[in-house]
Symmetry: C2
Subunit: 426 residues, 2 copies
């Protein structure tokens, strides 16, 4: 069963890394004494352990502990925090407080243009029309009777990282800088199956996907082989029905592509032979370049990674600690994450969670002993298509700072002599 | 990216299965007309689709839709439903209402002996002692600083299926019959890492794991290579901290073994050279055989599967519908699920979700057109160790009906001429 387990590391009595092994622990590690990580020596009794406790009755749902404080942060845009709830346009996932690669459904990031409607599934319909032989309307029960796929994929707002385009706010957490990406297991009907039902005309190379929210977000999607093979209309999220903020009762899932293409509250798919040039693709989601021209239809999300611990606003102590984070790529599977603990001078390969799925967030970690001196830590990821996450300098040299979207430069955290971790640009 | 997608099926104009293909759809399917699944013909307008709706403000958590009715069922034991909450000893996952393979954290089944305490993580401690060179005490923050693994695994109560040992209650749903199994992504510290810290003595071949609930559930666990390589102490569940009902702040995860070994509210691990013979292994979790003798330490969960739709109490209509369900094995990975729609006379291979992970639930599905005549449907699974789920007759012949645990006979659902689905024994 080695394939399902991450490799693990071993530290010595000075809290320094002794060995990383894909097979487990080295034999010499059995000579370790216990105090080097963070254990507390004990007498061989239960005296230091609190007594057992009686519990509450079993129920229909297991709620969170009253000691677990975990929530998204609603924001009104880059640098726009501490706002009235009505001004929020997104709500960010607390990456610094999560483990593994799955995001809890209620903490998956939200980005919407007219709030989150709770549509009645008995009334909601999906119209499929345009260049098809037989336009059809479906409700969500129709979809549930069809063949389905389930797939663990990340969805990322194209604005993720936008806090760091021009300057570094040292008060930001990783939730502020990178909280517009999340990973869920989505379940639904392959777009290809629906296409077969309506009989798409062969010269239709685009589809318009429109949402049922008041804003009516609508995007033209090119019908490439990749999209035809991978897109699906989802009704399930981490095992349960979609939540209203995530498109209940149905949404489009476009693995690897801009979050806004994963149309929520999906009400129609219209097939055609050219893009519709909606305001979402002429005004909103275009990418302003250094030369003043804008790119349209820059749809794929990039190779990315971020260290989630230690990260912005944390305070660490000298000695052993694990560095961990998340990596993802719209191109495919993460194959390598490297970490530098000396400001990008030298790099070491981190351990990757297993299985590392294509177009899903992958957990990485590395053992580290901080010597107490100021330094900078940074990660960079590589995917199975050979894409390497760029450093900030080369990223800005190529893109300029006029743009708002598709920021995927390496994220650097500085650590000062007091152990305080801060967001910096490089 | 074919490896991440399930294969899908195609039905013809009479709603009969035309083709199952691992590569997608056959070319001939493009001649299909749309009405055969459950779509509704439409004019090429939005007239039949409800208008768009404004939404509520974005927030810190995405709550469920008011239209989503989904909850576990607390029960007091086999056949003991409609009880006072204080009498509940378990609470079952609604398998008939879920998709994919991940169980939402708040719907993971619960089984406990003195309710669910919400322990204060600042006070809670894990003592590791016994035959070790250096006994140690850890809190959950200590664990979070150590190397971790994240793994998607099923946990199953050894009593799952106990409703069907002696007779079939035709009013049961699949939640009643099989709702004591769930799958989450768990994150924590490998047992091996903790063993290296305390310096286990080489002649220690057992560990006692004890919970911090009032019942103090405690089990002796043999330190086989498999368990040493795979067991871990978890603090994370589907990305977030454990919920109180699932062991907050820490629990043992024993992939593939009886749920009661996955000790919740873990307060100590004591190493020794023989089992402790706690009352949980001398009285509670022993398996009474046909000859009146009991088996102790029958720890591994078996190769199992169940069709979740259609399933008990559902009413179906003639024509096309998808059969879907879940398969799992404590021995390893599910490699095959077969479905019979004629009462176990003939079998067809179902499609498996991908990736099919070892010791995790795997989704299966098959296209089917019901002809409206009474029949019986049943599934049987096979794992990568060659174990095949037994039919009820051979299972009972081998085990008798005195036992209460480890029921893994094939589950048969009968369908009468009105389309009503009922739990039957074979």
């Amino acid at each position: 069963m080695a394939e399902e387990q991450n490799p693990v590391g071993v530290v010595d009595r000075d809290r320094r890394l002794v060995s990383l092994s894909r097979r487990g622990f080295i034999a010499s590690s059995t000579g370790l004494v216990g105090s080097m990580v963070a254990g507390h020596a004990a007498a061989e009794t239960l005296a230091d352990v609190p007594p057992r406790e009686d519990g509450t009755d079993l129920s229909g749902h297991s709620e969170r502990s009253k000691y677990t404080k975990i929530a998204r942060i609603p924001e009104a845009g880059p640098g726009k925090r501490n706002i009235d709830p009505g001004d929020a346009i997104n709500s960010k996932t607390p990456l610094d407080k999560l483990f593994g690669s799955i995001t809890p459904s209620d903490l998956h990031y939200e980005r919407s243009h007219s709030g989150a409607p709770d549509l009645d599934p008995a009334l909601h319909r999906l119209l499929i029309h345009g260049m098809v032989r037989k336009p059809l309307v479906f409700n969500v029960e129709d979809l549930k009777a069809m063949p389905s796929i389930s797939r663990v994929v990340f969805i990322e707002c194209t604005g993720n990282g936008w806090e760091n385009w021009k300057k570094a706010d040292g008060t930001l957490t990783v939730q502020n800088t990178h909280g517009l990406v999340s990973t869920n297991e989505w379940t639904g009907v392959p777009l290809k199956f629906l296409i077969d039902l309506v009989g798409k005309e062969s010269n239709s190379r685009w589809v318009l996907a429109e949402g049922g929210d008041a804003a009516g977000v609508a995007r033209s999607i090119p019908l490439t082989d990749e999209i035809l093979n991978e897109a699906f209309v989802a009704y399930g999220q981490n095992g349960e029905p979609l939540r209203p903020a995530h498109g209940f009762p149905m949404r489009l899932i476009m693995p690897g592509f801009e979050g806004n293409l994963n149309i929520k509250w999906l009400r129609r798919l219209k097939f055609g032979d050219q893009p519709w040039m909606t305001r979402w693709e002429t005004a909103r989601y275009t990418q302003l370049q250094a030369n003043g021209k804008a790119i349209q239809f820059q749809l794929r999300m990039e190779t990315n990674s971020v260290i989630t611990s230690p990260s912005g606003t944390m305070v660490i102590k000298p000695g052993y600690r694990r560095i961990t984070g998340l990596a993802w790529s719209g191109h495919g599977r993460i194959t390598k994450v490297e970490i530098s603990t000396d400001g990008a001078k030298t790099w070491k390969e981190a351990q990757l969670g297993s299985p590392a799925l294509a177009k899903a967030q992958t957990r990485f970690q590395m053992d580290w002993a901080w010597d107490g001196k100021p330094t900078r830590i940074v990660s960079r990821s590589t995917d199975d298509q050979g894409n390497v996450q760029p450093d900030r300098k080369s990223f800005i040299a190529a893109t300029g700072t006029n743009a708002l979207f598709h920021y995927n430069a390496q994220q650097t955290w500085s650590i000062d002599e007091t152990g305080r971790v801060r967001n910096v640009l490089d």
